[in-house]
């Protein structure tokens, strides 16, 4: 999904600020009672779904029965299909994301540390960032074919833009007097970077990682829909073409769960990082 979260937030002058919620969760914490109420709607939906399909209100080709979806899910878990396709997708995301994030981190640091580099690179970078990741796929397909390389590159591109922009913005946001302190302490350049600049930019970089991961995940589904023989996105295409709505729904749920786990994992990592930051201060 592209790059644009950052573009948008930078347009409002708030890169990495918590004003922009992006795809992050709505606040919802008031204990068990609330959780129970929150379950009412899904339970009712499933109940309605079950009733509707067993009474034939909803034709099967529009929505298969929940029991059928459940059976399919169990079958696919037991047969290892889910693990195989999810594994393929995750592997692609990990590789692609790592490449993209590393590149974004380096580029963002260069842009954040040096005005000159920023002046040279930013306009071209922003121009490229305007094009949704999905738009790049056919072009990259012509160059790299439909193999594994294409997938990794597309996913990396998804991570690159938010990582670069947030890293640069984070480094820029480190107050000049902190750097002065470092100078007073006669820190070497590397020390200044490691002990002052990077910790100061950590929050923003983290935001970049989060958006980067979300964008990578969406890019993955996109590229697997277009050209792939395995992975969760492929499962979607496969189910669609064979008219297996149960498989489609199972794939959607797995995609949702993976997204959820990544999100939550991120919240945990971030709060851990914050604690560590506070502990150090």
């Amino acid at each position: 999904m592209s790059s644009f979260t950052n573009m948008a937030s930078s347009a409002t002058g708030a890169v990495g600020s918590n004003k922009t919620v992006g795809w992050k969760g709505l606040a919802n914490r008031r204990g068990a009672r609330r959780a129970a109420i929150g379950l009412i709607l899904p339970v009712m939906l499933v109940l309605y779904w079950w009733l509707a399909s067993s009474r034939g209100w909803l034709p099967e080709q529009i929505l298969p029965s929940p029991a059928y979806v459940y059976t399919t899910a169990v079958e696919m878990i037991v047969s290892g299909e889910i693990a195989y396709h999810a594994g393929m997708s995750l592997r692609r995301v990990v590789y692609g994301f790592l490449f993209g994030a590393m590149a974004g981190l380096s580029l963002g640091m260069a842009m954040g540390l040096s005005r000159t580099v920023d002046d040279y690179v930013r306009p071209l970078f922003l121009a490229f960032a305007q094009i949704p990741t999905l738009g790049w796929i056919p072009l990259l397909m012509l160059i790299f074919g439909i193999g594994e390389a294409l997938k990794i590159i597309v996913i990396a591109k998804g991570a690159l833009v938010p990582m670069t922009l947030n890293t640069a913005a984070g480094i820029r946001s480190v107050p000049a007097n902190y750097v002065e302190v470092g100078r007073a302490l006669r820190f070497s350049r590397l020390q200044t970077l490691r002990l002052i600049v990077l910790p100061g930019a950590a929050h923003s970089i983290f935001t970049g990682v989060r958006y980067g991961l979300t964008h990578s995940w969406t890019a993955l589904v996109g590229v697997e829909l277009l050209a792939s023989s395995e992975g969760l996105g492929y499962l979607l295409v496969w189910g669609r073409q064979m008219f297996w709505l149960d498989v489609v729904i199972v794939a959607m749920i797995v995609i949702g769960i993976v997204g959820f786990v990544m999100d939550k994992g991120f919240d945990l990592a971030e709060s851990y990082l914050q604690r560590w930051k506070r502990g150090e201060a």
Binding site: P59, E60, Q61, I62, L142, G145, I146, G147, A227, S229, Y234, V237, W238, R240, Q241, M242, F243, W244, L245
Partner: protein
């Protein structure tokens, strides 16, 4: 407390859902006809079937030329047969040309359709390999990247060919591509081989691929079938219109089966973007009447039954699918009588031999 807002919200949601509700066909009637393929560069035309003739020759439009209230709208699907099923499940299509596997998949999933007449029922399938690939026979496909479009009649036919050569889908790397995507991938040698028809002959003619196998002239059981499918609701609601639509398709089939029309026929199909010489090749050694027969004969019925069994055995359909009561030859029979064509086409028995009358 916020009941006013709630009420207004409900109203807004209701209005929006009304706007988003599927547009129902109102008077005057528009007949929506789907075609499970699309021309070169997405031209809204096709080739190789009597349905393609009906489209390019405007047989349906002419049939209803004197009924200003009835309009014909054609839809061509890059997503082929599976996309036609999506159209049927939304009542967006009334008639469609569709291959055997997707029609059976639709039926297995509860789509209420009927099979009215055959069209393009004896289309062969070709296997082409990339220009530099070292693949000489079907058996050499083992472990190779092979493209076809999943869920189409070519898919089932491809599996049957693989099976006959001791392979299964698991022994190859299946790349799911539509016709245009196959051409691109085979040209750039991203894949090793592909199953398909005219697009592959065309590619081979340009020297960008080699055709190494075809079901043409082989046992018809390796081939694939197709026909005109209609939505049951539509038939029940408009039996006379259905009859006239079938009449038009039968007339198109007749014209497409007349040998003197061979050159004109290919010229007409050329609207799809497929070059005439390719079509000549595609139809070489076949009589037009054999390929364009609309008959629901013993061979066709047994073929569909067998395809259903095979599809289940290969795991393409996960429930038994029965073709009982699905074929609706009534309209075809009436057309043949009306047009005096009862003996125009040779019927074949389930054994593939001409049936005695």
């Amino acid at each position: 407390m916020f009941s006013t807002i709630l009420r207004r919200t409900a109203l807004a949601v209701f209005t929006v859902s009304l706007l988003a509700a599927p547009a129902r066909a109102a008077e005057p009637l528009t007949i929506h006809v789907g075609y499970a393929a699309i021309g070169v560069d997405n031209r809204p035309f096709a080739e190789g079937t009597s349905a393609a003739t009906a489209r390019a020759g405007e047989y349906l439009e002419k049939e209803f030329a004197n009924d200003p209230n009835i309009k014909i709208e054609w839809f061509f699907f890059k997503g082929a047969g599976p996309a036609v099923n999506e159209g049927f499940s939304n009542d967006q299509l009334d008639f469609a040309y569709q291959g055997d596997l997707p029609a059976l998949i639709g039926r297995a999933n509860g789509l209420k359709t009927r099979f009215l007449l055959a069209s393009g029922a004896r289309k062969p399938l070709y296997l082409a390999v990339a220009k530099d690939a070292d693949i000489k026979s079907v058996a050499d496909l083992k472990g190779k990247k092979v493209a076809y479009q999943r869920g189409t009649n070519g898919h089932l036919s491809a599996i049957k060919i693989l099976e006959a050569n001791g392979l299964s889908e698991k022994d190859i790397q299946v790349i799911n591509l539509d016709s245009a995507g196959t051409v691109a991938a085979l040209t750039s040698q991203d894949i090793d081989a592909a199953f398909g028809d005219t697009q592959l002959i065309n590619l081979a003619a340009k020297g960008n691929a080699k055709v190494i196998y075809t079901t043409k002239g082989q046992d018809p059981r390796y081939g694939r079938n197709a026909g005109i499918i209609a939505r049951q609701d539509f038939i029940e609601k408009h039996p006379e219109i259905t009859q006239r639509v079938v009449d038009a398709f039968v007339k198109a089939a007749q014209w497409s089966s007349d040998e003197p029309n061979r050159a004109a026929l290919f010229e007409l199909w050329h609207k799809s973007g497929t070059p005439v010489p390719i079509l000549e090749d595609y139809f070489s050694n076949d009589t037009l009447a054999y390929r364009n027969s609309p008959l629901i004969d013993g061979l066709l019925v047994s073929q569909y039954q067998e395809q259903g069994v095979k599809a289940k055995a290969f795991g393409l359909i996960r429930r038994e699918v029965s073709t009982d009561g699905w074929f609706e030859p009534k309209y075809l029979k009436a057309s043949l009588e009306k047009l005096g064509l009862q003996n125009f086409w040779q019927a074949y028995g389930a054994d593939g031999k001409p049936a005695g009358s």
